[in-house]
């Protein structure tokens, strides 16, 4: 499975705005490069990234080839309750990776 690096604060105060950082290993082949054999290398990118907080979507991104390899996103959410923050990446050639992190909200 492609390696993902996720950073979510382990603890937060209720109502606090927290920053979430995500990084996933993926070449994001644009579909515009020509290989040494003269053929265009087919596109192979992550197309969607969804982050959910206890099942509710809090951040969604639609990626195009212009997103750099090893896609990186940082974004914010309000720490509402303790629970699970889930991350799903999907893309070309059936690419699908899921990760989760837990957060304790006081």
């Amino acid at each position: 499975m492609a390696r993902a690096l996720i950073n979510v604060p382990a603890k937060a105060k209720r109502g606090e705005i927290i920053e979430i950082k995500t990084l996933i290993q993926h070449e994001m082949e644009t579909g515009f490069r020509v290989g040494t054999n003269g053929q265009v290398i087919p596109r192979d990118i992550i197309t969607d990234f969804i982050c959910k907080y206890n099942g509710e979507e809090i951040f969604r991104a639609e990626l195009h080839p212009a997103i750099s390899a090893n896609p990186f996103f940082t974004f914010f959410t309000v720490a509402t309750e303790s629970g699970t923050i889930s991350f799903e990446w999907s893309g070309d050639n059936g690419f699908a990776v899921s990760e989760t992190a837990t957060i304790t909200v006081e």
Partner: protein
Amino acid sequence: MTHDDDIVHATRRRFLTDAAALAGSLGLGLSLMVTPARATPETMRAAIKKVIGEASLQKGKVKLDLPPLVENGNVVSVSVSVDSPMTATDHVKAIHIFNEKNPLPDVLGVRLGPRAGRASFSTRIRLADTQTITAIAEVSDGTFWSASVEVIVTLAACVEVL
């Protein structure tokens, strides 16, 4: 040589140097140029129109942060933040990023809601050439706001041969 030949040669030369710049910035030394059509200000406008429809684009609220001089077009840090209280009745629904010189005009579409707390995110994008990047925010009241930044993209000196 006729005047028409001159125009054809000039266009072809610019096309090839632009393609070489694109290839160079994508990290490949190419001897054979097979190049895609590239985005132009027109295709970017068309891509923006698909998002905003008939609404007008207002300047303001959106802060688009890009380094003015980029060390490598393959990885350019971008931050977008929009001035918004992010409440249920007044929040940013989406933020789109567009460019005018990559092969495609769309870069990224981000969906947000009141749970974000802050209409702000960062990512890393690829830029093929010195160009203008535009970020557009869609607000819950149906209005669209934008900001643009001109970025200078230099190429790495020693390009790899695969």
